[in-house]
Chain length 317, copies 2
DNA sequence: TATATTTGCGTAACTGATTACGTAATTAAT
DNA sequence: ATTAATTACGTAATCAGTTACGCAAATATA
């Protein structure tokens, strides 16, 4: 057991499995002790049938949390033992209605003492424990219901990745990476257009000198994401969020969010009231990101880009 | 989940299994999230190999608590991926010494971040729980190590059965049951002898009137066990414990122990210093029972029974 | 009313573990 | 120096569950 303490919580799955095995192991013996000819795996189905007169395969499966083929197999085994009987539903020919036979009912009486004793044994173990396993399982079931382990791990990863990301201002030495990261995704999904070349080849004159900004995301020092804030002054919008690009090899590290967020903060700092952007709905992660930042779909703006099929705006608070 | 609350602790095995499944389910996804080409089931073996340079199949199996065929299979799968390399031990040709390959070591570096995040996620769940699952598992492992669940259930059963057993004094109406219970086991294992008939047909004159006693065990009112205490007065022993019989259908309900114990108490009450008994070693449960009560093997007494091949005595304290 | 979709459930194949068993190598015992 | 027992480990069979799939019945839709 020492092994698991060392590995850490990653092994909680393995450890749970091993405890499960140990607990289950004695199951068959316990039935024998009470002279009950039953397999442990039958029990959930059997118990469910003692609580109601009859149930269909699917109802049983849902109740005990198994797949229906599993229940189907268990029922056919119990059928062989004569513990249950089957009948087709008269009004719905698909449904296989299962109920306990007389023999099954007799067993259910016999089994009651066993339930009492096992309960007592488990309670005894609980009484000797600081942490109640039964309750702990219940809490985990609840918490995993709310948010799966996977989702929690994804969040932790994001948190940790965020710490490694540093957002920095544009400098001339970053011109090449600003260009190449954008060319990479644009030419993957669309084709480069005239306006693209203008901005990417001359960020200084086309963006910065006109009162815009460019930010870069460094991941452990390496520039892996870029985003520009282009001055608009069209009366309605102050800035356009554009030329946002994150290296494919850095996807899933929250860089996009941190970058876009920083750009919005920058705009806020500059007193912007409304930010505009153009994108394409095939870029789902990007659209989701904009949405998360508070951008709403709008329409009607003229655009120089043929690839644009969605326009969004953010009202800065 | 409601189902399990209702069934009671009997279902702790099933419930554990379902939680295990839920936790394990996300495992494969999590590896994918970190771009690591590894199956969750490989992890314990993989981790063990990161801690030491090399290990044999059996050593690995022992460390992670799997069977050796399981490790054997996992290693052959990891071999295909090129994560490990095998080598025969030079001094012991049976041993298959396994170690991480360069590729494996690279993966072990890559995996560290994942371990950190999963650990953090599990800690987060623990922090939101009243009962710590991880600790609870540890406690169960420890307590089951000390005494298995089966053993605990057996004890609970005995306790409960004991409450249903009542030890009562012999009355003439019990003569038939006293006779039949004894005839049943004697003729099953041996053949009835002259001395048997004498005592069983006339308990009043051959046992009670000579200063002996007979006790019966009633299980829920039904007489299912009998035992006699026969006056000896041979200078050494005060009484002989004899004609002990428990109905086969009531075996395993602790009746024998309660009955014999009551007989010994009775003898004590009557001021006995030493009690004697005769039996046969093929009656193992009986011999065990006598032993548990403190009887020790002796030899040399003459006996009228051909079936007797062991003699025991109890020095009453 | 005809057609498409959904539902119930049985069969088959797969999965990740186990136990059972066989073989070869090593170690212990006579 | 044999012979017996133990150990290492691979293969096969088994087990308790799963997912995949297909058929038939019921329900929804056009």
């Amino acid at each position: 057991m020492n092994f698991f303490e060392e590995v850490g919580k990653v092994a909680i799955g393995s450890r749970l499995r091993m405890l499960t095995d140990k607990v289950t192991e004695d199951g068959a013996q316990i039935y024998k002790l009470y002279n009950i000819d039953m397999q442990p795996k039958w029990f959930p189905v059997f118990y469910a049938l003692t609580q109601v007169k009859e149930k269909t395969i699917t109802e049983l499966a849902k109740e005990i949390g198994h797949s229906h083929p599993s229940v189907s197999k268990i029922i056919s085994e119990m059928l062989k033992k004569g513990y249950v009987k089957e009948a087709k539903d008269k009004t719905d020919g698909r449904r296989n209605v299962v109920s306990l036979s007389k023999k099954g009912i007799a067993v259910s009486e016999k089994i009651k003492d066993q339930l009492i004793d096992v309960n007592a044994a488990v309670e005894e173990i609980s009484a000797q424990s600081q942490n109640n396993l039964w309750e702990a399982i219940g809490e985990w079931e609840f918490l995993l219901e709310q948010k799966t382990l996977l989702r929690r791990v994804i969040e932790k990863k994001k948190e940790r990745d965020s710490l490694k990301v540093e957002i920095v201002d544009y400098q001339p030495k970053y011109q090449e990476i600003f260009r190449s990261l954008n060319v990479e995704w644009i030419s993957q999904y669309f084709t480069m257009e005239e306006s693209d070349y203008k901005a990417l080849d001359n960020p200084q004159s086309y963006i910065l000198d006109k009162g815009g900004f460019i930010l870069l995301a460094l991941y452990e020092g390496e520039p892996l994401g870029v985003c520009a804030l282009i001055k608009m002054n069209d009366g309605e919008y102050d800035f356009e969020l554009a030329k946002m690009a994150v290296s494919p090899k850095a996807q899933g590290r929250n860089i996009g969010f941190l970058l876009a967020n920083a750009i919005v903060e920058k705009a806020k700092l500059l007193g912007a009231a409304k930010i505009y952007l153009e994108s394409n709905t095939i870029l789902k992660p990007a659209i989701n990101l904009y949405h998360k930042l508070g951008f709403q779909k709008v329409a009607g703006k003229p655009t120089p880009y043929t690839r644009c099929n969605i326009q969004m705006e953010l009202v800065v608070k």
